[in-house]
């Protein structure tokens, strides 16, 4: 047999590792560590869920906290039954939806102008947009606070302590990044489409609505998701600018009202937190690819 002939010619001993065995072990170790990391990343949300299903008796009992012995939906019923939580949810939803609409209107039009229509200063403006994203809310909230007070003193319009004020401010957090994402998407659409549309008799606005937006839909979805998630999760601005209970949005509402003095109603807090985390999570579950595309597009499409 030829194989024997080949084997007989071997004089030196085999001292190299087996390729297929290495590959199999690499897979096993990969999955092992992946499981460890997944445990690390998913423990807090899972624990939120576990706690939310416990009665307060069970929470304070000295038993295994990682298991629900007597699951109950009482936390959910109490929380959703009381008006307050629903008000938080409503405020958050209204703010987020309005902010998303405003953001997309501003971002898409601006991105189109910056990416496509070269005008004086467009490059610097694009860079400027990016830079403002790096000015954090922790630097701006104090002057904004004073500015709102000033508006109240001069015009009598009360901006503080109204949830709809947030609709004005949140776009500063969402518009720069969304514009940046959209610029990247628009820039990747070939210029010949412009010219073809123009020759076909379209105005710029028609070109935008009939040609670009359909092609840029993935980017638009990604930007919308981003705008929504950021609005929903905002904590500092509402904490600084809204104080009355009925004006609070969800993150602030949960943190401030459910912690009454020294008594922490953990069952309800976790339930509230979980429900508060639900909208972004649900969107993420269904639109995960757009989510990720938005993230990576922002950084890699420079």
């Amino acid at each position: 047999m030829a194989n024997a002939a080949i084997a007989a010619g071997t004089a030196r001993p085999v001292k190299y590792r087996s390729m297929s065995r290495d590959r199999r072990w690499a897979m096993r170790w990969s999955y092992f560590f992946l499981v460890l990391f997944v445990i690390f990343f998913l423990t807090p949300p899972l624990y939120m869920l576990i706690t939310s299903l416990k009665s307060s008796g069970e929470i304070s009992a000295a038993i295994n906290p990682w298991w629900v012995y007597d699951p109950t939906l009482s936390n959910y019923k109490e929380l959703l039954g009381q008006n307050q939580y629903l008000v938080f949810f409503r405020n958050s939803a209204l703010v987020s939806v309005c902010v998303v609409i405003i953001t997309m209107l501003i971002s898409v039009t601006a991105a189109f102008a910056l990416a496509r229509m070269k005008f004086w200063g467009s490059a610097t403006l694009a860079m400027g947009v990016f830079l403002t994203y790096l000015i954090p809310d922790t630097l701006l909230f104090i002057p904004l606070f004073k500015m709102f007070a000033f508006v109240r003193d001069t015009t009598g319009i009360e901006l503080l302590n109204h949830w709809w004020t947030l609709i004005i401010i949140y776009p500063t957090l969402t518009v720069p990044f969304c514009t940046w994402i959209m610029i990247g998407y628009f820039a990747s659409i070939p210029k010949e489409l412009d010219e073809a549309a123009l020759i076909d008799g379209a105005t710029w606005m028609q070109a935008l609505t009939k040609i670009f937006i359909p092609v840029a839909i993935p980017g638009i979805i990604a930007a919308t998701i981003f705008a929504f998630t950021v609005s929903w999760a905002q904590f500092l601005y509402p904490l600084a600018f809204t104080t009355s209970t009925d004006q609070l949005v969800l993150p602030v509402g949960i943190v401030t009202t459910l912690i009454k003095g020294d008594v922490f109603n953990w069952g309800q807090i976790m339930t509230g937190a979980l429900l508060g985390a639900a909208p972004p999570l649900i969107i993420y579950a269904f639109l995960m690819d757009y989510y990720i595309a938005g993230l990576t597009a922002g950084a890699t499409k420079g």
Partner: protein
């Protein structure tokens, strides 16, 4: 000793057989070329020799040792990729010395080998540059330099010239041949271009659909193909295939091409073909250079006939004429001064001493 042996090698992707069992013996210092249309399995075979693909069945041995399960880095091979695969963040010197550096070769030795390889390839003044500063041809030379420096048992080339423009390709072809003459290392070269195969190879392996059609020297493949595929693949313009019938009449063997045209079988072949008379699905294979204009002196086994020319392609040193027999387009090569003109009849001569008779049902040359 760096011979490469393949025994019943099979490659299976899920349910698809990319390589269906090939046997090949490559001798030491030989330059062997695997050629075939895309999808024939030549690249897959090369990558199995390299260790970049796992072997589904069969054995591959390099230098006498079976290497099925040996990782690429331990096989003592070097590979030149179609896209060069140069490390973009390293300069040419670092690219070429990378393999040696990993083996912890002393710096003086590395320098000596790199300089030597750079000299062979004429890239000594490029050593400081980064790949993005090089042209396609230069990058390819650096890729070869990287392979030479390692002084491996086998060189593997995976369609290295496909990314270059036509002129550069011809140039680099010669370079590769020169390098092989200087650095006598066993080389396995994969290409889809049969001209490259013919000009570079000591032996050519024609592959088709995962199997080897024929192995032989370029001359053998050109003049004595064993299958219709090889006959039609090698040579440009391709061999003409004319369906015909073998008739035995009055003790002489003739090939009837259509009701107006029949040609006599050369006497030297009568014995060989006589048993196939009357067999269906026979095809006459004749290369374009064996269909010429008529000349004053007639050799034996040459047959003259008249044909209406469809298309004329002047190539400068010759003119290609195209005509139709039995709905098959036939190509002939005539002298530019022979007066060939489209739509005009012309007297042509077939040199049947170079004919091939093919059984179309089996694809074999009889």
């Amino acid at each position: 000793m760096a011979q490469v042996t393949l025994r019943k090698v099979v490659k299976k992707y899920d349910e698809v057989l990319a390589v269906r069992g090939i046997d090949l013996d490559i001798t030491d210092k030989e330059f062997i070329v695997l050629v075939g249309p895309s999808g024939c399995g030549k690249s897959t075979t090369l990558r199995m020799i390299a260790g970049l693909e796992e072997i589904s069945d069969g054995d591959i041995a390099i230098g006498g040792d079976v290497v099925n399960d040996v990782p690429p880095k331990d096989r003592d091979i070097a590979m030149v990729f179609q896209n060069y695969a140069l490390y973009p963040h390293m300069n040419v010197y670092e690219n070429m010395s990378f393999g040696l550096k990993l083996k912890r070769t002393p710096r003086a030795e590395i320098e000596r080998r790199v300089k030597q390889a750079a000299q062979i390839l004429d890239i000594t003044d490029l050593l400081d540059r980064k790949p993005k500063q090089l042209s396609g041809g230069q990058r390819q030379r650096v890729a070869m330099g990287r392979a030479i420096v390692r002084d491996p048992k086998v060189f593997l080339f995976d369609e290295p010239l496909s990314n270059l423009d036509a002129k550069l390709r011809v140039q680099m072809r010669t370079e590769i041949k020169k390098v092989h003459q200087k650095v006598r290392t066993t080389t396995v070269y994969v290409t889809h271009d049969q001209v490259e195969a013919m000009t570079l190879a000591d032996r050519v392996v024609v592959m088709n659909a995962g199997l080897i059609e024929q192995v032989g020297s370029p001359n053998d493949l050109y003049h004595t193909p064993t299958t219709k595929f090889v006959a039609g693949f090698i040579g440009s313009p391709a061999m003409n295939f004319i369906p015909c019938q073998l008739e035995q009449a009055a003790g002489a063997l003739r090939m009837r091409l259509n009701d107006k045209l029949s040609m006599p079988v050369p006497a030297s072949r009568t014995k060989r073909y006589s048993s196939f008379a009357g067999k269906p699905n026979l095809v006459l294979g004749l290369r374009p250079e064996h269909i010429t204009e008529t000349r004053p002196h007639t050799e034996p086994d040459q047959h003259d006939f008249d044909m209406a020319i469809d298309v004329v392609e002047p190539m400068g040193m010759e003119t290609l004429v195209y005509f139709t027999i039995n709905a098959a387009e036939i190509c002939g090569r005539v002298n530019p001064n022979a007066g060939a003109a489209a739509g005009q009849p012309m007297k042509l001569r077939a040199d049947l001493s170079n004919m091939h008779l093919i059984d179309d049902t089996t694809g074999k040359v009889l």
